[in-house]
Symmetry: C2
Subunit: 114 residues, 2 copies
């Protein structure tokens, strides 16, 4: 499991992938692990956040739209996408976004006086 992605200052890009799975694994867990490792080695990859609770949400972060396009066309990733449609997903939605602004909070990072 990943934590919160350590992304740079905006602007950068996000791909929000929301999905509902079919029943059973059917090779999903293994491929998901492979895809995550592969994503980390892609040019322009900035990080990924993922959670599933019935609904699955995976948000990956990228330097540019070109980096997103290259990842979508990666040979192994194309195979995963095809198997996603045939075996793993009942439904999904992919949203390509430009992150315009961000802010955060860390409990232990708060100064006592500011």
């Amino acid at each position: 499991m990943n934590g919160i992605a350590r992304t740079p200052e905006p602007p950068y890009y996000a791909v929000i992938f929301t999905s509902e799975r079919t029943d059973g694994d059917q090779g999903y867990a293994e491929m998901a692990e492979e895809m995550e490792k592969l994503a980390y080695s892609q040019p322009g990859f900035l990080g990924v956040e993922s959670a599933r609770e019935g609904l699955g949400i995976t948000v990956s972060y990228w330097e540019s739209l070109e980096a997103i396009k290259n990842w979508k066309q990666n040979e192994r990733h194309l195979i995963a996408q095809q198997q996603g449609k045939s075996d793993w997903y009942l439904e999904y939605k992919t949203r390509i976004c430009k992150v315009e602004r961000d802010y955060g909070f860390e409990k232990n990072a708060e100064p006592f006086h500011k």
Copy 2:
């Protein structure tokens, strides 16, 4: 639990809220339910998707940056945000995004011939 949000054609806006919780509930579940109901009644609200698996990811969708700003300043929501910092979250990150493009897949909606 929600499914995949039924958002309109882009462009629209997304707020990606990624968080790590403190231990224990401390009123969190009740407030989360109240905030979700309240969000649905806000002008410009388009939908929300949420999952927690250790890491929590909530993505809310909005018609405009103004709608996002109004929600952030909602009186009850301000109280929830404050309690979030004091009680519920070890860490969070909020990212304001413009959704530029989206596409989806539905297993049962696929035509046999196309």
